[in-house]
């Protein structure tokens, strides 16, 4: 696919949007592109006293990173041990299978009940969002490690700690990384949703809802675009790391 074919559809969509906006002629339903661009091009401007786009983005990114790191710190070690031990997996798996299909947002009421309003509740939602994809992919990755690799380490006299650090973890790393990518995507969606909680007064999720509440939809749309771009950017970075460090996975055989 040539690069310019990728541009055709976005250009059509933007054109249709602009035409519709002019036809509707109501900024409270569909703002014109110019008003959205005006917001986007002044990322440091204070938006109706609620901080700038950059400030609110920074708040959201900080929250998602915090929740995401707590999530992976819990999920990766648990996943490694569950992947290594059938007994542990059998013991824990039923609980995970039951909890996994519950969307992170469904934990909102509990988050409010347990943590009141504030950072902890939001972090909890992000944690839930990141935890399961990372855990599931880690377990799968560890279980798929070739038995021959592990036995090779055994014949050299490796202890369990060495088998883990020198064989299991590096071998499972591509799968774990996939889990991190998926987990981060979900965490990012979760943070935006969690920031719409009553009582939250910062972050991109807050900002887009605030745009609606004060009848400034161009703020909402600008916020949505920033949410999309940040998600895309981080996934792109993670993909680059994957190709750089885990490229061997695709090149095997």
């Amino acid at each position: 696919m040539r690069w310019y074919t990728k541009l055709i559809l976005p250009i059509i969509l933007i054109f249709v949007w602009e035409v519709l906006a002019i036809l509707i002629g109501n900024e409270f339903i569909l703002p014109r592109i110019e008003s959205v661009i005006e917001v986007l091009f002044r990322p440091l401007a204070n938006i109706f006293g609620q901080g700038s786009l950059v400030e609110n983005s920074a708040v959201s990114v900080f929250r998602v990173l915090l929740g995401f790191f707590i999530g992976l710190l819990a999920a990766i070690p648990l996943g490694i041990f569950m992947g290594r031990s059938d007994a542990l997996e059998e013991f824990v798996d039923p609980v995970i299978q039951v909890l996994r299909p519950i969307p992170p947002i469904a934990w909102l009421p509990l988050a409010l009940a347990w943590f009141k309003i504030g950072l902890a509740g939001i972090i909890f939602i992000i944690f839930i969002g990141a935890f399961f994809p990372v855990l599931i992919n880690t377990i799968d990755g560890v279980k798929r490690v070739s038995r021959t690799w592990i036995e090779t380490a055994c014949t050299f006299g490796a202890k369990e700690a060495q088998i883990l650090s020198k064989v299991v973890v590096p071998a499972a790393m591509p799968d774990i990384w996939t889990g991190l990518r998926v987990g981060f995507g979900i965490a990012w969606m979760s943070v935006v949703a969690a920031e719409m909680l009553p009582g939250t007064s910062s972050g991109l999720g807050f900002l887009i809802l605030f745009g609606l509440n004060i009848g400034q939809l161009q703020v909402t749309i600008a916020g949505m675009i920033v949410i999309g771009l940040i998600g895309l950017g981080i996934d792109y970075l993670m993909k680059r790391v994957e190709m750089r460090y885990f490229g061997w996975k695709g090149l095997e055989k």
């Binding site: 690799w149 380490a153 055994c154 014949t155 050299f156 064989v167 071998a171 095997e252």
Partner: protein, 255 residues
């Protein structure tokens, strides 16, 4: 390094709970620096025997001793080369060869020195910084040999290491292995189902028969090296070993 296998028996429990007698009463004495081939049709327990010697599998009964000390579990005196692909794809060739030394916490300089030695022994010095996927099958098995040799074991255990290679590469690898064996003076226990390979390599061929795996015969091969596959003596011995194996297959079919 003298390896002694005594009355070794191995019973597996199959998937339906039935018992499979894979090895029955195997006894074998292997001299230091000897090249032994374990030969037999597939399913006769060659891999199982080698894995028990290598400490990856427990015998049901019987015992293994090196220089009269009892072996249970992987022994530092032995290194294994697997039939299937066993290199670590995320490590360079250099780091693959260093693996065993890393496990033993050997210092970096000493490790690098050993790696260089064995890289050049297997003729892969220029591939030190390559990754396994950049190498051909034959080269990969040479890396596996170098990785095993790097820990300086007395005994090399090899399970059909050239089984997946084409005939030409295979013959070349056999000659190289003999070279390495003569230079390093290791004891080698080499599993194969190829009569030709066994007659070309071995000091003694241990012929195994299936169900249960037992030693049919131990055949000393006193042909001088390098051996000529087309010589009268080579063909005679080859015919003899083949007939032994055919015989065992025939008796199995009678059952």
């Amino acid at each position: 390094m003298r390896l002694c296998v005594q009355h070794l028996t191995k019973e597996f429990t199959g998937t339906r709970g039935e018992r499979v007698l894979a090895l029955s009463d195997i006894s074998l004495d292997i001299e230091p620096k000897e090249f032994i081939c374990l030969l037999g049709p597939s399913g006769c327990g060659k891999t199982t025997l080698l894995r028990i010697i290598g400490g990856l599998e427990q015998a049901t009964s019987g015992c293994i001793a090196i220089n009269s000390h009892h072996v249970s579990g992987p022994d530092p005196m032995m290194a294994m080369i697997f039939q299937e692909y066993s290199l670590f794809p995320w490590r360079t060739i250099r780091d693959n060869i260093a693996f065993g030394l890393e496990i033993r916490n050997v210092q970096r300089e000493e490790r690098e020195e050993a790696v260089d030695t064995y890289l050049s022994l297997v003729g892969l010095t220029e591939f030190a910084e390559s990754y396994p996927y950049e190498l051909s099958g034959g080269m990969r098995q040479r890396v596996a040999v170098a990785r095993a040799l790097a820990i300086n074991p007395g005994i090399l255990l090899m399970d059909e290491p050239f089984g997946a290679l084409d005939a030409q590469t295979r013959n070349m690898m056999q000659r190289e292995l003999l070279d390495i064996w003569q230079k390093t003076k290791k004891t080698i226990i080499f599993v194969t189902h190829s009569v030709d390979e066994a007659v070309f390599l071995a000091d003694r061929i241990v012929v195994l028969t299936p169900r249960p795996g037992t030693i049919r015969e131990v055949i000393p091969i006193d042909l001088p090296r390098p051996r000529d596959r087309t010589s009268e003596d080579f063909l005679r011995i080859r015919r003899f070993v083949l007939s032994l194996i055919d015989e065992t297959m025939a008796t199995r079919e009678d059952l």
